[in-house]
Symmetry: C2
DNA sequence: AGATATATGTTATAGTATAACGCAAAACAG
DNA sequence: CTGTTTTGCGTTATACTATAACATATATCT
């Protein structure tokens, strides 16, 4: 399971923008992912595994072509579908999210939990935090219900300033 | 031409998917737009005006290239920036919205009101309804505030089934 | 009228995404 | 364990979306 005490940035939304030991939370998420996929009868192949690691290491949203570049450099395929397929697989299995505003992908920091997260995107430093979207999803569902619409999936993305950048007014790279 | 019995609503959120006289609500919105731009000291030039009309007539989300095709056919420029500039202008002035999930644009049905609307996108018939997003924006803002994040703009998009399609389970073309 | 700012149109190019095919490896049935 | 089926990978090729940069024209403001 996910251990909040060892991964401040992952476990607690409150710390999403704070510096923390990231390699540890990567490991934790990877382990979770393996268990979860095994249970779902899905295969975590080398490309898929490496793609997830790349996203986790970056700890920020990455474009498909950025991911592809890294994969290619490591001996995997060199063509776009290689990256897109892996990313889509991860997304479908709740291990990654697509950030539409950025045409980018990011590792899910809370795999296993059923969640429709809201993303907080800093327009200066580009860091993306995953905020609990349950309450938001609820009010969206209610608004939809009133007009007879059935929500299946939701995209919730906020653009603005993260704590660090809102103080300095210039990009602060809180995570490397 | 417009068929009231097949055109989901635009005036009232409650009627978003209900039949109504659409040519009329187009006119209303156009009129509102003119007043509003005049007040803001912005110019509603021919391309911009026509672009807005095109979106209003379509009454659905349109890709920039679809809009461009129509503009070009009417003697305006034939290159992408022509459409993108007009669409961006409309968006910046609250007269159109960008639907990121569809890489498309749609006319705003409530210009003048300050609003961060949520969009309900039917995955079968592709109709897009603009639901009141105030409550949703509020809960998003609160969630963000907890982590020190300042929301400037939000993208709220739900994919699912509109009333008509959820009954028939096959695309219902409410618009032609 | 002249200076300045705003808009339009163009060419060219960058960036994002998917369709379709062949091959290889894994999973499965007998 | 062998043939069959399914799944995944890698490729080529192409489609779709978006923007930079520049030239020309039209408003706007002294």
């Amino acid at each position: 399971m996910h251990d909040p005490s060892t991964c401040p940035g992952c476990a607690q939304p409150d710390l999403a923008f704070a510096p923390h030991d990231h390699s540890r939370c990567s490991d934790v998420v990877m382990a979770l992912a393996e268990v979860q996929l095994a249970q779902a009868g899905q295969r975590l192949t080398p490309v898929r595994r490496r793609t997830l690691q790349i996203l986790l290491e970056a700890h920020r949203a990455m474009g498909a072509y950025d991911v592809l570049e890294r994969l290619a450099a490591e001996g995997f395929g060199h063509q776009p579908p290689v990256a897109y397929r892996a990313l889509e697989f991860l997304e479908e299995n709740g291990l990654a999210h697509r950030i539409r505003r950025l045409n980018a992908f990011t590792a899910c920091m809370h795999p296993g939990e059923i969640h429709a997260p809201a993303f907080l995107i800093c327009r200066l430093c580009n860091v993306v935090a995953e905020a609990p979207g349950a309450a938001i999803g609820l009010s969206l569902g209610q608004a939809a219900k009133k007009v007879g619409f059935t929500v299946e999936r939701a995209t919730l993305e906020a653009l603005g300033l993260c704590p660090a950048c809102s103080i300095s007014q210039s990009p602060v790279r809180g995570l490397a």
